[in-house]
Symmetry: none
Subunit: 143 residues, 2 copies
Amino acid sequence: MPDNLSIRLDFRSQVPIYTQIVEQIRLRVASGQLRPGDQLPTVRQLATELRVNFNTVARAYRQLDEAGLISTQRGRGTYIWEPPTGAALEALRREGLAERARVFVEEARRDGYTDSEITRAVQAALSGGDEPVELHQPERLEK
Amino acid sequence: MPDNLSIRLDFRSQVPIYTQIVEQIRLRVASGQLRPGDQLPTVRQLATELRVNFNTVARAYRQLDEAGLISTQRGRGTYIWEPPTGAALEALRREGLAERARVFVEEARRDGYTDSEITRAVQAALSGGDEPVELHQPERLEK
DNA sequence: ATTACATTGATACATTGATACATATGGAGC
DNA sequence: GCTCCATATGTATCAATGTATCAATGTAAT
């Protein structure tokens, strides 16, 4: 099982802890960081790591279980279930990106940045990267 | 948590109860009587002590939270704001908006999202979420 | 007097925590 | 191999805590 899911919680956020956990695990499944058969940390392990009550983790696991993403087995542990396919996978990908965007925006806003500043920063990052952008201007160097 | 904040209320004053609570907690934080990480009495405890409705205390706590002085967490309690330390502080110092946007875009691209998908996701997050908060409310760490 | 607004109180609710429980695993002893 | 039991795992239930919503109250303006 992965020793560290590197889940980041924002205790001050309005979005509940268990939802944050759910979304971040979805994210890792959607991106392939977690693969079918992988064992997740036990509810108590993850709870200790995140400094949260294990019932909160259990609630997140139960939601993921009901969504068919993982398989929780009393006395044994929790495992990633089937790889989502087709439209489900596409939806999951979108949700994953949406969640990441939401977290990014929420943190930036809380730190006092305006919406237009955030938009500009993202556009700058998009055009600044070395990836699929085709600009007529010289590429920017890494900082 | 302190058993007694020794808050004195003047019920005949023109200044609202919740404002009196806010000001006296501000004072105790400023004077060091309340230190970062300290847990405040629960809204119900303090309300009983002061013989007011717990919603009044909750309102005071909410104002202090919005001012960044304390951190209220549903189901957990209320704590004096603790500035981030160690790795979290380092991350905050390093991660300006531009840096965070760069990381966000980089990770999304690595997971196969297209630039237009990323742009749409950010716009959706910007329009979907709450309006920006103008006060500085940095992330709170666990108690 | 009437209206509008701010403040406080009452009630229901969502989230998190504490505790006890049910189930599965693995080893000790036989 | 089998039994027993300690341990590890997820589950169920209730308590504790802050939040949302609306009603009641008081105060000022018209």
